[in-house]
């Protein structure tokens, strides 16, 4: 009997992919991805996420012009590859929704919730044989203008999604010992010779 795929398979398999086959993504799949997104946890269950689904070619090009490649280039180099994705989901945080309940601090929590929803999309896409990449290098003001996003909604990521063109390979990850503390900060969790 073959082993059933688990959530860990998707977690281990997910990587940022930037080249896609020219292939449309079915509406059902889009709905599946969005549903996965909305199952993320959120402060006070305020579900502050909102999604702008972009499939139209002209609109994708406008999104390209909102990107920059490398933080300091500030628009000198666009990320043209995102337009090759079958679909781009722009994940936004509705700051007003969480702030209604919690006041000013809610505005800091809403993007965290939207980030959790984003990771759900990335994992769901992987599980469905799709690939994607969380793109954060964009001009926030410009994208708000292009997508008609109101002041109280903050775009937190563009997720171009498509069928991957090449085999997926993950990038290096730091061994756990560099990112783990035992009981309190600065006490190593892993002893000598552990991973």
């Amino acid at each position: 009997m073959s082993k059933q795929p688990t959530i860990l398979d998707a977690i281990y398999k997910r990587a940022s992919v930037r080249s896609f086959q020219k292939k449309e993504i079915e509406k059902e799949t889009v709905i599946e991805l969005l549903t996965a997104a909305t199952l993320a946890p959120s402060s006070g269950n305020m579900q502050p996420w909102e999604f702008i689904v972009v499939t139209e070619e002209e609109q994708k090009k406008r999104l390209v012009e909102c990107t920059y490649f490398g933080y300091f280039s500030k628009g000198a180099n666009y990320q043209y590859w995102i337009a090759d994705a079958g679909l781009i989901i722009v994940v936004c945080a509705n700051l007003k929704r969480t702030a209604a309940r919690y006041g000013e601090s809610g505005k800091q929590w809403a993007p965290i919730d939207a980030a959790a929803a984003t990771e759900n999309i990335l994992l769901a896409a992987t599980g469905l044989g799709l690939a994607s990449c969380w793109v954060g290098g964009f001009n926030e003001e410009k994208i708000k203008e292009v997508l008609n996003i109101p002041a109280y909604v903050k775009p937190i990521g563009m997720i171009p999604i498509g069928y991957p063109k090449e085999p997926i390979s993950r990038k290096y990850r730091m061994p756990l010992k560099w990112v783990t503390h035992d009981g309190k900060y600065n006490v190593p969790f892993f002893k000598e010779n552990e991973p």
Binding site: Q47, R101, Y102
Partner: protein, 189 residues
């Protein structure tokens, strides 16, 4: 005033009835701000503050809202039945932000959101009455038509039209139950 009589407040509350005739005088900006502030002090489930308000500023805007109104019996296609709202110096369309109303509890949350928003409306009306400003609440309109006329997005649900202004109109203060008539002490009888 704390601990003193609230007879003056009860009298102001008693005078909150729908008034459909207003003088032309506009409500002073700071007074209107106070009334809106009173609105914002309404209670809401989990502090969701599910309300939003579109204040109609021009005759043209008020005219469009009036086109969505129905007669008091909600007769189908009786559009434009309440043209009088165009004459009110203040016209606000009180709405629900459906997503904020739905977030925590789903559809049941929307029921609470209605209730909460009406409490805010009453706050506005009490504050207005204290300033000798008359008000009215109009619920008889076609929701979809109103959304279309005011170009509201799908997640904004218009609940009621709130009008306000100074008025010389004779108030039709209705008879009310006495406390003895509706309160049941300890048990139903």
């Amino acid at each position: 005033m704390e601990g003193g009589s609230i007879n003056w407040l009860l009298m102001k509350m008693d005078r909150i009835v729908n008034v459909r005739q207003y003088k032309d005088d506009v409500i002073e900006e700071e007074v209107l701000h106070e009334l809106l502030h009173a609105f914002s002090l309404g209670p809401s489930l989990a502090n969701l503050q599910p309300w939003e308000m579109i204040v109609l500023e021009t005759d043209e805007q008020k005219g469009r809202a009036a086109e969505a109104t129905l007669d008091p019996f909600l007769t189908k296609d009786s559009y434009g039945a309440q043209q009088w709202i165009k004459e009110a110096p203040f016209v606000g369309i009180v709405c629900l932000e459906k997503r904020r109303a739905l977030a925590r509890l789903g559809e049941e949350g929307v029921i609470f959101a209605f209730e909460d928003t009406f409490a805010s409306v009453q706050n506005f009306r009490i504050a207005a009455s204290c300033k000798n400003i008359a008000t009215s609440v109009v619920r008889e309109f076609d929701k979809e038509k109103m959304k279309e006329k005011l170009e509201l997005p799908w997640y904004i649900d218009p609940l009621l039209i709130l009008t306000a202004g100074y008025s010389d109109a004779l108030l039709e203060i209705p008879p009310r139950f006495t406390v003895q008539e509706f309160v049941h002490w300890g048990r139903w009888e």
